[in-house]
């Protein structure tokens, strides 16, 4: 493997890992808060926005996503768009499913594993 290839794949893995961290943290934060509709019914739309923005997991997750956005720009500047974009999307979907099972304790049954695999392959195929 050439150092250029290694460079590109490290960037792709890094961007995907940031996306997974961001999405899982945001999901954990929102699960902690509970249904936003209920919060809005109880304390209004501003109350719901305040509840979200003061949730530590949500804020750290959103920062990961913002950082992910810039890391993605960087990754796309060193890698081909047609390689990097679908590779990052695919790895993010697979990483999300694994992380959701491990950290969010979601019940990822065979239907969801199958869906995850189909989405990951489908996204790769769509890019060509």
């Amino acid at each position: 493997m050439s150092s250029q290839t290694l460079h590109v794949w490290s960037a792709i893995l890094f961007v995907a890992a940031l996306a997974v961290a961001g999405e899982v943290l945001i999901a954990a934060g929102m699960r902690q808060l509970g249904d936003l509709d209920d919060i809005r019914a109880h304390s209004g739309i501003l109350g719901a926005i305040r509840a979200v923005l003061t949730n530590a997991k949500f804020v750290v997750g959103a920062l990961c996503m913002a950082f992910n956005f810039f890391a993605m720009l960087f990754a796309l500047s060193i890698a081909d768009l047609s390689l990097a974009a679908p590779a990052i999307a695919s790895l993010t979907y697979i990483g999300n499913a694994i992380a959701a099972k491990l950290f969010l304790h979601e019940r990822v049954d065979h239907r969801r594993w199958l869906a995850t695999a189909f989405v990951a392959i489908g996204v790769l195929l769509l890019a060509h």
Binding site: V24, D35, S77, E106, R112, A115, F118, L126, A127
Partner: protein, 142 residues
């Protein structure tokens, strides 16, 4: 165990599919006009802010983030993933029927796989129930 979604929650799912895909398309259309941005030409990002396609894309992606966050408050991450992926199908079909682009067999296969994935997940529950979390929810007072 099985959750039935309210019509407003289906509306949020559809908004996620549409805002993500159309927002991304607008952003890439705008960035094509702005030009190549790399670490040595970050100033171009400032110019990008004055491009109407980029602006519209940013507004839609903020809308996407709000919808996605809302959906995560009542659905699992692994339930939502095929919904976000369906946005790619929307983009491909928009290109096919609106811009009359040709779709290769492998892209049709990609569309079919993602549609199947949505079908698998839509047949199951939207949320994993956790006993201790239900108690926490009850404490919040619903």
């Amino acid at each position: 165990m099985k959750h039935t979604l309210k019509p407003s929650q289906y509306a949020v799912l559809i908004a996620i599919m549409l805002t993500a895909s159309v927002g991304d398309s607008l952003l890439s259309r705008g960035m094509e006009q702005v030009g190549h941005v790399d670490l040595h030409h970050l100033g171009l990002l400032w110019h990008a802010l004055f491009n109407p396609f980029v602006d519209a894309g940013i507004v839609l992606l903020i809308g996407f983030f709000a919808c996605y966050t809302t959906a995560l408050s009542w659905a699992d991450l692994t339930f939502l993933m095929p919904a976000t992926a369906f946005g790619y199908v929307v983009i491909a079909l928009l290109g096919r029927f609106w811009l009359h682009e040709q779709l290769s067999p492998s892209r049709w296969a990609g569309i079919a796989l993602i549609v199947c994935a949505v079908g698998f997940v839509a047949g199951g529950p939207s949320r994993t129930e956790h006993h201790e979390l239900d108690q926490m929810d009850a404490g919040v007072g619903r």
